[in-house]
């Protein structure tokens, strides 16, 4: 049925073919040869004219299938319409009704799998560059000063939000707008979670994140850094002693997985978390101006094929590596990373070794990495994820000449909070079990969302979980439901 209606829309909207622009307007980027020498942002963003022109490409189709693809349910056609009229202040206000971190999402959302995937225009041509327009509107606001947002009258209820990543910040922002006092507890010395320690500066400038955080503070959110919940107060103590009426846990996927192969503790082997945290959070790329060091050799192998792997491989080049390899046990089509990141990585000279996985890391007498022994793989039957399972080819061992290895094969939930909270049910892998619709956990008054529930996923999915939880916390605090008990 959908298809029929869409065809109708397309025929009516396509009448005026003269105004139809089939391709997205390009966004200027730093040239690869230049950008691999710096940590400045790769994608430079639209200017006002281009943003408005791109917005004018939107057909404003009544069904707005794009909205289906947005985990936080932004009213996409509405903000695009305002942007097309150059009412960017109106556009950002519209976005912010649903999205607390638009400058972040405009940069790091995998739009091709979300809003833009469903765009009507995208069926025949390029979809509208929704993410780029969002980014322009958000950056313009950061530049011109925030549009004040409406906040409901104070309810007198206090909510503790554990973790200041995308899930926590979104939850806190929504709670604040609903009139609740949200206090965010962050273990590190700065708010933002993975937006600060994980995603590189060249993809998401840290100043942008901090400006977004400052804007959220204006909603009345209190952010406490250097506060490790579970080591300072536990979740139980927050509720029993400190008077919080509810708690949201959004502590993310902060536990790095290793391959569990021989040699993995050798010097020169990093978890992606460490590699990126040193570089992004601690600014090791500015060493010795900043005190935290990092060591990158001539040839770097990054294990894994997701966004974190791409970020690590590109970071390695910028830190001076001569060669940076993605070593992935499946093939190109299975790479889980965002398309743009794969493209950018290739443009920058990152090389790929598909159907390859290491068996051990070789090192010298000083315990420094000297190489990596790998096995070749071939694709077999489809596995549970629907992707063809990589099968090792017996006797295909070979050695890759590398001196640095970054393990980017995924992260699990950090066990600190689950372990110290009474009555909180977790899965075998340690993820908190929470209702996907409400974020309610097995413990009354405690909600959870983001990577700590779902396992490592995207910024926007975490934000979606944060806002669902905020809504159900609101309902819980208003006594409208007892589903949590």
């Amino acid at each position: 049925m959908d298809a029929v209606i869409e065809v109708k829309i397309m025929t009516t909207e396509y009448k005026n073919k003269k105004t139809l622009v089939p391709n997205k307007y390009d966004m200027p980027v730093q040239e690869p040869v230049q950008r691999i020498k710096n940590f400045q942002e790769v994608a430079l963003g639209y200017d006002e004219e281009t943003a408005a022109a791109e917005a004018a490409r939107c057909l404003q189709c009544k069904q707005a299938p794009c909205c289906r693809g947005c985990p936080v349910e932004v009213d996409i056609p509405a903000f695009i319409k305002l942007a097309a009229r150059k009412d960017f202040a109106g556009a950002i206000k519209k976005i912010k009704e649903k999205n607390a971190l638009p400058a972040v999402c405009g940069r790091v959302c995998p739009q091709e799998n979300q809003c833009e995937k469903f765009c009507t225009l995208g069926k025949k041509h390029n979809p509208v560059a929704i993410g780029r327009i969002e980014r322009f509107c958000a950056d313009r606001e950061l530049h011109n000063g925030a549009v004040p947002q409406e906040v409901a009258a104070a309810t007198g209820k206090k909510v503790a939000v554990v973790g200041s990543g995308p899930a926590g910040l979104t939850c806190a922002a929504d709670l604040a707008k609903l009139g609740h006092k949200a206090t965010v507890f962050e273990a590190l010395h700065v708010a933002g979670g993975v937006l600060m320690y994980g995603i590189p500066e060249f993809r998401l400038p840290k100043a942008v994140v901090q400006e977004e955080v400052e804007n959220l503070k204006k909603l009345g959110i209190d952010i406490r850094v250097n506060a490790v919940v579970g080591k300072l107060a536990t979740v139980d103590e927050l509720m029993e002693k400190d008077g919080f009426d509810a708690v949201f846990i959004g502590t993310g996927a902060g536990l790095p997985y290793f391959m569990k192969i021989p040699g993995e503790n050798a010097c020169g082997v990093y978890s992606a978390n460490e590699f990126l945290t040193r570089t992004n959070l601690m600014k090791a790329y500015l060493f010795p101006g900043y005190d935290t060091p990092i060591r990158v050799g001539r040839k770097v192998a990054v294990l894994g094929g997701g966004n974190v792997a791409m970020d690590s491989a590109r970071t390695a080049l910028r830190l001076g590596a001569e060669e940076s390899w993605i070593v992935y046990r499946r093939s190109r089509v299975e790479l889980p990373a965002r398309h743009e990141e794969i493209e950018h990585a290739e443009e920058e000279g990152v090389k790929f070794r598909f159907l390859t996985s290491p068996t051990r890391i070789l090192y010298n007498d000083d315990y420094w990495v000297t190489g990596m022994e790998c096995l070749r793989y071939e694709l077999g039957e489809a596995d549970d994820s629907g992707r063809r399972r990589p099968v090792p080819i017996k006797g295909s061992e070979f050695v890759i000449d590398v001196d640095t290895v970054v393990v980017a094969i995924g992260q699990g939930p950090n066990p600190l909070v689950p372990r110290t909270t009474n009555g909180l049910e977790c899965s075998k892998k340690g993820n908190i079990i929470a209702d996907p619709e409400t974020g309610a956990t097995s413990k009354p008054g405690v909600f959870a969302g983001g990577d700590v529930v779902s396992g490592a996923a995207t910024v926007i999915l975490a934000m979606g979980a944060g806002r669902k939880a905020a809504n159900s916390i609101h309902a819980y605090l208003s006594g409208q439901t007892t589903t949590n008990s």
Binding site: Y197, N226, V228, P256, D291, T292, P293, R295, P415
Partner: protein
Amino acid sequence: MYRINRKEVLAPSVNLFEIKAPAVAEKARPGQFVILRVDSEGERIPLTIADFDREKGAITCVFQEVGKTTRVLGALNEGDSVKDFVGPLGEPSRIEYYGHIVCVGGGVGVAPVYPIARALKEAGNKVTGIIGARTGELVFWEDKMRAACSELRVTTDDGSYAGKGFVTDVLTEVIKESNDIVLCIAIGPLPMMRAVCNLTREYGLKTVVSLNSIMVDGTGMCGSCRVTVGGETKFACVDGPEFDGHQVDFAEMARRALIYKPQEKLSLERYLNESEHQCGCSHRGENNDNRVQK
């Protein structure tokens, strides 16, 4: 910002800071550590908690000036502040009744051993303390340790104060004298902890060590601090810092401790050059930055 309430120079280049952090002091227990950052360009460094005062809301840390960061820190004074201070991190020591315990502190390791010895004695244990230093002027907290232990022995490598010899020499004596020792706790430089473990292994004496490996976040997020214990990879920050010393792969630890040696050297040289320049007579009085006070 976290204020330095009190500073005490315990020995040349060994400083004590009492830092105001009421929330941390409220929860701190012997064996845990904190991570601090001096300023916004600073690195995060772990320091084992040497004492805590819940009433005053303060944590005591003792550190030796070695690289740039500890020197910058050492140049701070009472009333100054550090930018970030987070804790208490890691698992606390297991304080319970064991019987007769030996607590060995080497160098600045005396500081973290102190609250553990005190708590163990309070839990009814007989605690024999051994403290050692390279030379007499580096011995500190002798009185505090004497009060915290049932018995205390002091030694210096060069014999310039108290007995002459390594802590392992004294430990051998203690083990030979008494046949009721059930546990040894050893904190100090890596080679010392390794030597203690080699010795106690011969006697089948269970030994706990506290590992201070290179860390970034200190909450189990980065894996920088990974150590091999009993053939398994552990994170010193969340699984430790205390481990069964007989299971620790000290050789691996020693090599991992050197990962950033060239950068540490560069950083220190750069800092010393800057300090020298800024402290030169022509600049005296112009620069009140406490980072460069000598």
